[in-house]
């Protein structure tokens, strides 16, 4: 039955995360914007403690069957809402600050890859560390200097089997939180490499590279337009030896099908909705702040009026509200599908496209509408305008996601539409 009733558990998550956002993020958002590459330890430690108190499994929903209760009766299974809750967390924490959200030691993109494609043993090895004594971060290393959106098909980083291990060689750039995952904490990076360069995309697999692995070095930190609290690292892999069991997915190359590759790509069906949710958190923060500023000047929206009777500002605000809510529902549907174990590849990309568009448009307009106030670094609007743009770029640009949507709808492959 179609329903838009927010489950109580999600309501609780939203309340909790809003407190975190208001108290731990907003007050320091400007500081970490102005002190790029300074590690926000207070936030990281706080989130780590909070996560431990809540069970410590990290934010990525468990895919394991619920444990039996003491009486031996299987626990009654409620509707699965793990990914919906995760999306709400991403939204609210990004409403607090996107850069800081990306520093959350709770398992983000790398953990999502492990959760989506890992074996139970791999999940135990890599995901339990989020509940350990010290905070750890994870990251995903996909982009290489020669190719971004053509990834992972164009991967040049190689993984060569050598007995019980893989030896990785190559360079990765634009690794979000790479420094925090590999240097500042004992985390891990999911590195995409090819096990058979002659096999093209069919040979590409994600590998888990843990912090402290010899041959894995962070070589550069980027200076960015926004999300400055989050480091964006270059990672060089030079004869980097990792255990054989660190491959996510099948070690066999099936050249005819691309099943192994497709399985790995399932990661994006989980990660794109989170980026979309994060984008919409910034969009909501911006719209709320814009409305607050205008309300102080006595300007509020008169809902219900025909456009001929509305002011331009009212029209703008109404457009933004429509964009924000309709996009949120699309993102919510895409994570609901994950929870329901329905294929959500199309919806994940749809939500990503629209959320990227929405947050960019809303932040651009808000800064414009508030003139010198919007443009001033006294307020966070100009920062959100800068933070927003990343959402139209990472986890697949708006164009790559349009391509995915178009191929799906048209039932085209790479040959027909590229």
């Amino acid at each position: 039955m179609i329903s838009f009733e927010m489950p109580e558990k999600i309501q609780q998550t939203v309340t909790l995360m809003t407190m975190v956002a208001e108290n731990m993020m907003r007050p320091v958002a400007r500081h970490f914007d102005e002190h790029e590459h300074e590690v926000p330890w207070d936030y990281i430690n706080f989130m780590h403690d909070a996560n431990k108190q809540m069970g410590g499994g990290g934010f990525v929903p468990s895919t394991e069957k619920p444990k039996k209760s003491e009486s031996g009766e299987p626990k009654k299974e409620g509707p699965r809402i793990g990914y919906q809750r995760l999306a709400y967390s991403a939204e609210v924490l990004s409403w607090g600050d996107t850069g800081l959200y990306l520093c959350s030691p709770v398992g983000l993109l790398g953990a999502a890859a492990v959760a989506a494609t890992g074996t139970p043993d791999q999940k135990a090895r890599f995901l339990t560390r989020f509940g350990g004594d010290k905070p750890v971060l994870d990251a995903m290393a996909l982009t290489e200097p020669h190719a971004g959106s053509a990834m992972p098909a164009m991967v040049r980083t190689t993984a060569v089997r050598d007995g019980d291990s893989w030896v990785l060689n190559g360079e990765k750039i634009f690794v979000t939180a790479g420094h925090k995952a590999l240097v500042d904490t004992q985390g891990f990076v999911v590195v995409w490499a090819t096990i058979d360069p002659s096999a093209g995309r069919a040979g590409v697999r994600p590998f888990v590279v843990e912090a402290g692995t010899p041959g894995c070095t962070v070589t550069k930190l980027e200076h960015k337009l926004g999300i400055r609290a989050s480091d964006t690292a270059s990672v060089v892999l030079q004869d980097c030896r990792i255990p054989f069991e660190n491959i996510l997915g099948s070690p066999e190359v099936e050249k005819k099908t691309t099943e192994g590759f497709k399985g790995a790509m399932a990661t994006f069906d989980a990660s794109r909705p989170m980026v979309a949710a994060s984008a919409l958190g910034v969009a909501r923060a911006t719209l709320e702040t814009l409305k607050d500023f205008l309300a102080q000047k006595g300007i509020t929206v008169r809902y219900g009026l025909p456009r001929s009777r509305l002011t331009n500002i009212e029209r703008e605000l109404i457009d933004m509200e429509v964009m924000l809510r309709s996009t949120w529902l699309l993102v919510l549907k895409s994570v609901w599908m994950m929870d329901e174990k329905k294929p959500n590849n199309l919806e994940a990309s749809m939500g990503k496209v629209r959320a990227g568009d929405a947050v960019v448009k809303i932040t651009q307009r808000a800064v414009e509408l508030l003139g010198p106030v919007g443009y001033s670094r006294e307020h966070l609007l100009e920062k959100w305008f800068r933070d927003a743009k990343i959402n139209d770029l990472y986890e697949g640009t708006g164009q790559i996601n349009r391509l995915i949507v178009a191929r799906r709808m048209l039932d085209y492959g790479r040959q027909e539409l590229s």
Binding site: M1, I2, S3, F4, E5, M6, P7, P79, I81, Q84, Y303, G304, L305, P306, R307, S308, R309, I318, D319, E321, V322, M323, R325, S326, T327, L329, L330, L332, K333, W336, M337, E347, M350, V353, R354, Q399, R402, L403, V405, A406, R407, M409, L410, Y412, E416, L417
Partner: protein, 363 residues
């Protein structure tokens, strides 16, 4: 709990309505738009699907429960076939649902059974007014108390089937609040004007109607408290029209998508060009998200909460969606999109009307 899945029962209704929309409404749409006439048998067949009957409880002649969500799902499918045909089939709902949602027990018992019969009957509503700045919350058609009854004065535009109406619900301002009144077809002072000639909806007979000191009984007003207005009815109508916009946009999207896969340029289908493929992707994204906004507004209506703001936003988004999608559909067909052989120019004309149509339908 969140869920985006219709019930089994709704699924069956959607399937039935969709078959009718594709096989009957769509096939008749071109000729009906050109000739200005929908075959009566076509409308009757749509009526037999029982969309309205299933929203009215047994006590008043129907066989179900009212649900705006179900209404939205059905409206979407009907409009997927043909929005004008959809509005014809749904016209009695614009009369019956205000009675069901705002009427007293006596009004429901007296007024609903004649509408909910075996055959479709021309019951309708008079809502829109012929002014550029028409606003449902500030109507120029006025009602005033006189003795135990009411007197209505004003002019209404785009009243479906007014020339043959067996009854209509008229909206007018009473003490500054928009209220709904039941007007008998033969009431003195109801003057049905010429059939309106419009940009779209050629198949739907719409008329200018003048109320000249129309005297109504005390039982004509649909409401239980003068402190409340017809806001919930206006919201339900906005949501209904937004649902029509979703169906219309889905139709335009799929039609242009199929065309793009067939039509070749420089030896390859135009759908294989990013400029076209991206347009189609953006259309689909727009439709999918606005559709959920409309569903949410309908769900809010069903939950009994105030849905005025959400309904307004849904309509606002739906109007922009319909214009964006139908414009691109015409564009994708190129010159052929401009030719009346293809339905996209008709949907383009219909799409422009979405913001004006509230009052014509109700869920």
């Amino acid at each position: 709990m969140y869920s985006f899945e219709p019930t089994e029962e709704q699924r069956m209704l959607i399937d039935a309505v969709q078959r009718y929309a594709i096989n009957d409404l769509r096939n008749a749409a071109h000729d009906a738009d050109e000739s200005g006439e929908l075959p009566q048998a076509l409308v009757e067949k749509g009526w037999e699907l029982g969309v309205l009957q299933a929203s009215v409880p047994e006590a008043y002649g129907g066989f179900g429960e009212h649900s705006a969500v179900t209404g939205v799902l059905a409206a979407e499918e009907l409009a997927y076939g043909d929005p004008a045909g959809a509005l014809a089939v749904m016209a009695p709902a614009a009369y019956a649902l205000p009675v069901l949602l705002a009427g007293s027990e006596e009004q429901k018992k007296a007024l609903l059974p004649p509408v909910i019969g075996d055959s479709w009957k021309p019951f309708t509503a008079a809502f829109i007014e012929p002014d550029f700045d028409f606003f449902a919350g500030d109507m120029r058609t006025k009602a005033r108390k006189e003795g135990s009854g009411y007197v209505i004065d004003g002019v209404k535009a785009m009243v479906p089937f007014a020339d043959r109406a067996q009854g209509l619900v008229a909206y007018a301002a009473l003490d500054g609040k928009t209220q709904a009144f039941v007007v008998p077809a033969k009431a003195e002072g109801v003057k049905v004007g010429e059939r309106e000639k419009l940009l779209g909806l050629g198949a739907l007979p719409l008329f200018r109607v003048e109320f000249e000191s129309v005297k109504l009984g005390g039982d004509a007003w649909l409401g239980d408290s003068p402190t409340k207005d017809a806001g919930p009815l206006i919201a339900a109508s906005s949501v209904a029209v937004a649902a029509l916009a979703v169906g219309l946009s889905r139709a335009a999207h799929l039609y242009s998508l199929n065309y793009a896969k067939e039509r070749e340029v420089f030896g390859t289908p135009i759908a294989q060009k990013q400029s076209i493929a991206f347009m189609l992707a953006e259309m689909a994204i727009e439709i999918e998200s606005i559709r959920l906004l409309v569903w949410e507004a309908a769900w809010l209506l069903d939950s009994g909460k105030d849905a005025a703001r959400e309904a307004y936003l849904a309509l606002s988004g739906a109007s922009d969606m319909a214009m964006m999608v139908t414009d691109r559909a015409v564009q994708i067909l190129g010159g052929h999109g401009y030719i009346r052989e293809h339905p996209v120019e008709r949907w383009y004309r219909t799409g422009r009307g979405i913001s004006t149509f509230p009052g014509l339908a109700m869920v």
